[in-house]
Symmetry: C2
Subunit: 309 residues, 2 copies
């Protein structure tokens, strides 16, 4: 078995299942063969490609934008989700984290409105400024260090076997497009997800408040993959309940299980349904603790952690 | 100048402008250099990549579907656009051909409704059956023979210089995705355009009546390119008025001018604004008559023409 590029993966059921699927897919004339055109692999981002605890990298960017809007227009502070943001309403944030449709819709509307009229360049500059100063509160790492090394190796392994890779996240397509080329080696067009429509003002595209298409969560994920690629995913990887439909639509489903509170985080929130479905459906599960001998792409820096606390 | 792959292009201003732009774009350190990530080239389809006269290949597919619906439910015959289809209302078809928003909206709604609940496999099978028996009424050629050979050579030339190619058409993304791999050598994900949303019924995606995003016409074209690729096009090619905004958004704009009524068709309809803008903006124009020494990928077959009339 050619497993050279998967060196951060321990020998075990997960690695063996991946290698068997990918090598069979490339072997014409076998039952596992996947024609090259169909070799579409799709990955969720937060919790699948990088650390999402204690909060996804994008969260403070979004909350900071809403807080800035309330500072500029205090009358907003009485309206949802601004009130919840200003008050730090825990119930709202729990609902949002659980990707409750009501809370998500309120947030998406507010964010659509917050960035309405912004050009892509302005949005990218805002996101880049935010990312440049962001540090993980426990590991002290910049966002670039939070990526799971085993997943980057999996990217390389799939690419080497003729797969086309996509990232599909509910968390905002254009935020990921700021770093996808540098971080994942993926061109922007291979990043799919919730995004606004654009309008033209004097020949310049600007963000509209409305979404272009549905939210890329739950059934929205396979819908985005189908819309973007003309196919359902053949290989899909995710880690929580809003990834279930995408994983169900794939021939090979990989579920990352966060069970390592030393090198990362151990948690089951928003993943109960995904784990139950994995067991019932025979998906391949990846234990961060047992299947990965290296987790992050950078070594947590205690110095930096102290500096930024 | 390396113009090897452009053998169907006569030496002239158009070929020279293309070669100069593409070779400069690949040369680091020159003002014409285009970083690899930005090398996005987008092509309109009907009239840019293949013959669109006397009617685009897709037209009879769409009209046949509407006629079948009226046969199944005669009460529809009194409603637009069914009435216009059944009556062969020329004013309606002229408005549709000119991509008049009112006529297009009526048609899009009817088509959304016509294919509502269809799975991607069912839609593809319908389109494939239609395409298999379709012949061009004048040239007797199947759809595969109507592609402009010079444009396929341009595809190869751009690819060889590190460009990523996309086709963006208002005429229905999923119809093009049935043949894009075979005809253009482009994966389905590189075909952009108007398309429906999908819903999930018992885990199976089915077409909804509503569009996913706006119509890919006029300003909708650069919007689709931006949404899909994260960038505006750097190189764009089109042939009529609904391509103007896409061409304006590009650094290099190519406008195909249909002026050869012997080997193809000579017409100016729906292209007046595009041609005026080309002149004003210094776009590169391609005269089918003068710039191409070969037009189609297959030789018109008079035998077949007679058989199918």
């Amino acid at each position: 078995m050619d497993t050279g590029p998967l060196e951060s993966w321990n020998d075990g059921a997960a690695k063996r299942a991946i290698v068997e699927f990918v090598t069979s897919a490339a072997r014409e004339g076998t039952p596992g063969f996947v024609p090259p055109a169909d070799r579409i692999a799709v990955f969720d981002n937060d919790g699948t490609l990088w650390v999402e605890k204690p909060a996804p990298v994008q969260t403070a960017f979004v909350l900071g934008k809403l807080a800035a809007r309330v500072r500029a227009d205090p009358s907003l502070a009485g309206r949802e989700p601004y009130r919840a943001v200003v008050d730090g309403d825990e119930a709202f944030f729990r609902a949002l984290e659980a990707q409750d449709p009501g809370a998500v819709t309120l947030m998406v509307r507010a964010l659509g409105y917050a960035w309405e009229g912004t050009t892509p360049e302005e949005y990218e500059a805002e996101a880049a400024r935010y990312l440049a100063s962001w540090r993980h509160e426990r590991f002290g790492l910049p966002y670039t260090g939070l990526v799971y090394r085993p997943m980057l190796e999996l990217f390389d392994y799939l690419r080497a076997h003729g797969w086309r890779l996509f990232v599909c996240s509910g968390g905002g397509r254009d935020f990921m497009r700021v770093f996808c080329e540098e971080l994942w080696g993926l061109p922007r067009e291979n990043v799919i997800g919730s995004a606004p429509e654009f309008a033209y003002r004097d020949g310049v595209p600007v963000r509209r408040a409305e979404l272009h298409g549905p939210l890329a969560l739950g059934p929205g994920k396979p819908e985005y993959v189908l819309a973007r690629t003309g196919r359902l995913p053949c290989f899909a990887a995710g880690n929580d309940d809003v990834d279930v439909e995408m994983l169900q639509s794939a021939r090979f489903a990989l579920l990352v299980v966060h069970d390592d509170d030393v090198r990362e985080y151990a948690y089951t929130d928003n993943a109960e349904r995904a784990r139950a479905t994995a067991e019932r459906s025979g998906w391949t599960t990846v234990s961060v603790k047992n299947d990965w001998n290296t987790v992050l792409t950078e070594r947590p820096d205690q110095e930096v952690t102290r500096c930024h606390r």
